[in-house]
C-alpha cells in the first residue's frame, strides 16, 4: 500500500534516535521530557488501584466524553461556566490531534511560536496545515508579528504553550496574555492553550490562563502526565460545548473512549487529601534540580552561550553561537550526556536558532553537575573556548 499524502510530508523523527541513544549505559540524559519516576504518587493511588478488582462497572464500555464522575470533578476543578464542557482524552496529545482533525482542512493556516512543541508540529503536519511561525520573545510571542499574521493570513488556530514553554521555558507575562486574548477575539482566531507544565511552577505566583481572557475563543489542553503519571495516558480538553462536541464525534471513531479504570484512579488521586502536598513536594524537588543546573551552567558555560532563567516547567534552553546543533548533540552523546538540538523544534526549512534543550526533572543533582561538565567540554571543543 502507498502511504497517504498526509504521511508523505512527515519527516523521520530524529528525537527518537536521540532518546534511544540517551538510554545507553553510562549516559546521563537531559534529553527527554520525563517526570521523575521515583516521585510518582503511587502511594496516593494505591487505595484506588487496590479497589479496581471490586469495581466491575469500570471495566465495561464507557461514554466517549469520559467517566462521568471525573467530568463532574473537572467542571468544579476548572470552574467551567455552564456553556463549557470537558472531554477526557488518551493524553493531551490526543486532544490536540482531535482538534486538528475536527477543524483543520489541508492548507488551512495554523499559527505557532518558533521554536515549538514537536508533537504539535507532528499533529499539524499530519493535518497538512500550513504552519505559520511567529517569533518568540522573552515574555511571549512577538505581538506585532502575531497581529500582522492574524490580520493578513486569517488563521484558524493559534497553538501556544504560555506556561513554561517546551522547549524554551518561556512564561508569558500578564500583559502579553491579555493582548493575545484580545487579538484572538478581534480576529476570531481560536487559541489552543496547551498547559502541561502549568502546575510545575516553583517560583512566583500563577498567572491567569490566557483563555480566561477569551473563554469563547479558546480550547484548553491539560495533561496529567507531569503531575500524576504519563503511563496512564490521560489528559483533558475544555471549551465551549459546541466546540467540544465535534471532538467527541472524532474520538468515537478514533478510540471510542479512554481507559475507564485509569480515569477512576485519576479522579481518586486528584481528590486525595495528599495530592496538594504531592504537588508542592514535586515543585520543590524540581526547583532544587533547576537551581543546580542553572548554577552550574552559569559558572561553567563559555561566555558565548546564554540561557533563560525559568520559574517552572522542565527545561532550560541554552543558545549557542552558529554551529551544527545536531553534530554537537551527537558529540555530547559520545561524551555520555544526552541533550536535544534545537533543529527538531522547528519546521523543516525554517531559520533555526542554534540551541540545546536541557531537561532538569529526571536526573539527580549529582548527575546534573556531572552532565554540565561533560556538556561544557563538548561545547568548548566544538565551538571554541
Amino acid at each position: 500500500m502507498e502511504l497517504a499524502q498526509s504521511l508523505q510530508q512527515i519527516q523521520p523523527s530524529y528525537i527518537r534516535e536521540i532518546l534511544s541513544a540517551a538510554t545507553a549505559e553510562g549516559v546521563i540524559s537531559l534529553a527527554g521530557g520525563l517526570p521523575d519516576g521515583d516521585k510518582f504518587p503511587l502511594a496516593l493511588m494505591e487505595e484506588s488501584l487496590l479497589s479496581l478488582p471490586n469495581r466491575a462497572e469500570l471495566f465495561q464500555y464507557g461514554n466517549t466524553a469520559g467517566y462521568a464522575p471525573l467530568l463532574t470533578h473537572f467542571k468544579a476543578r476548572f470552574e467551567l461556566p455552564d456553556t463549557h464542557t470537558s472531554l477526557v482524552c488518551t493524553g493531551s496529545q490526543q486532544a490536540l490531534d482531535l482538534i486538528a482533525r475536527a477543524y483543520i482542512n489541508p492548507s488551512d493556516n495554523v499559527v505557532m511560536e518558533a521554536p515549538s512543541y514537536l508533537g504539535a508540529l507532528q499533529v499539524f503536519g499530519l493535518a497538512q496545515a500550513n504552519i505559520i511561525s511567529v517569533s518568540q520573545e522573552a515574555d511571549g510571542p512577538n505581538l506585532q508579528e502575531l497581529e500582522q499574521c492574524f490580520a493578513e493570513q486569517k488563521p484558524t488556530i493559534f497553538y501556544a504553550v504560555p506556561d513554561f514553554h517546551n522547549p524554551t521555558g518561556v512564561c508569558w507575562t500578564l500583559s502579553v496574555r491579555q493582548k493575545v486574548a484580545a487579538l484572538c477575539e478581534q480576529y476570531s482566531v481560536t487559541l489552543v492553550e496547551d498547559v502541561p507544565y502549568r502546575e510545575l511552577r516553583f517560583t512566583g505566583e500563577a498567572l491567569p490562563l490566557v483563555s480566561s481572557f477569551c473563554p469563547d475563543h479558546s480550547l484548553v489542553l491539560r495533561s496529567f502526565s507531569k503531575i500524576a503519571t504519563p503511563g496512564i495516558r490521560l489528559g483533558v480538553v475544555t471549551g465551549k460545548a459546541e466546540s467540544i462536541d465535534p471532538l467527541i464525534t472524532v474520538k468515537q471513531a478514533a478510540d471510542l473512549h479512554s481507559s475507564i479504570p485509569m480515569q477512576a484512579v485519576l479522579l481518586d488521586l486528584l481528590t486525595h487529601d495528599g495530592f496538594d502536598k504531592h504537588l508542592s513536594d514535586l515543585q520543590a524537588l524540581y526547583k532544587s534540580r533547576y537551581e543546580v543546573l542553572a548554577t552550574q551552567l552559569t559558572a561553567k558555560l563559555p561566555k558565548y552561550c546564554h540561557f533563560n532563567q525559568v520559574d517552572g516547567g522542565m527545561f532550560i534552553w541554552v543558545t549557542l553561537p552558529p554551529c551544527d546543533d545536531f553534530a554537537l548533540a551527537q558529540a555530547a552523546i559520545d561524551n555520555n550526556v544526552a541533550v536535544v538540538p534545537s533543529s527538531v523544534f522547528y519546521q523543516q526549512g525554517e531559520k533555526v536558532t542554534p540551541a540545546l534543550r536541557l531537561n532538569f526533572t529526571n536526573a539527580s543533582v549529582e548527575e546534573l553537575a556531572i552532565a554540565v561538565d561533560r556538556l561544557v567540554a563538548v561545547i568548548s571543543a566544538e565551538c571554541g573556548e
Copy 2:
C-alpha cells in the same frame, strides 16, 4: 470555527440515541454489543491489579508500539513470522483509524460488505474514502461482485469481519476464505481482517484466519474487549513490519502510546493459568443464551421473519418484510425492548435490507424470553400477524 470538510460528511449517529433509550428503567436491551459485565475475568486480573502500586516503571512514558513484554507475547501467541510485528492500540477501533489515516487519501476506494460495522463506516467516512459495498451471502461476500470490484475499481483496502460478522453473525466458509485471500493477492488489495468475535465461537471448530492465506496482503485487528474487558481499551494490529511502521508514526501523533498499566494487566491475564477456562466458560454461557433466543424466535416470530443460525459471536440478525425499520425499533423501545434497526449498518443512500440486530450476550435467559414476546408483539402490530 468551521468544521473540517471530513467531518461535514459524518451523519449523526442514531445508534447513540437508541443505546441511550435502551438504558431506561424497565427496558430489556438487546441493542448494544456489550459483553456480560458479571463475567469479566476480574478474579484472574486481581493479582496483577494489586501489584500495580509496586510497579512504578509501568507508569512512566512508554514505547509507542506497546509494552515490550506484551509485544513479545503477541509474537508467540499469534505465531507471527519474523517479518511481521504488532502494534498495541487503544482498542482495535484505533487500529482501524490508524490504518485509514496512514493509507487512505480522500476518494480512495475501500471495499466493505453491506451491511457493515458502524465504527468502520465512521472511520472510512472521516477518511473521506469512497466506500464500495459488496453483498453479503450466507457464507461470506459475493465473490463475483468482489472480483469485479477489485478488477474494475482498484480498491486500496477490503475491510471484513469474517468471524461472526457484526451485525449479521455470518462466518465465512473455508472455501470463501481461500478465494478472498487469492483475490487480495491477485489484485494487490490489502485485507483488513477485523476479528473481535473470533474467540467467541461456541459451535464447531475455528477456521483459519483469511489472512493466513495472504499474510503479506493483510492486516489483522484483534480486540480484547470481548474476551478480557472493554473498559481497558486495548486491541492490537499485526502485519508486515513495513506496513505497521507508518501506523506507529501516526499513533505517535495520535496519543503517543496506550495505557501501560493496562497493557501489563492484559499480559498477566492472557498468560494466567485460568484464562482458557474463562474463555470456555464465556463461550458456554453465550451459547446457552443464544440457544434460548434462537429457540424463542423460531417458536414465536411471524412466518415472514427469518434469521440466521450462528456458531458464535454476539448477534442474531432478523430480516423483516418491507417496513420502516426505525419506526419498528422505536415501537419496540416503547414496548420496553431495545434492538438496532438495520439502516444504521449501511451507508446513507444505500439499499437497506429491513432487519433488526439482536444481541444475546448481555441479557439473562429469562430476560431474553421476555424480550422475544415483547418484540414479536411489536413486529406483529407493525408488519401484520
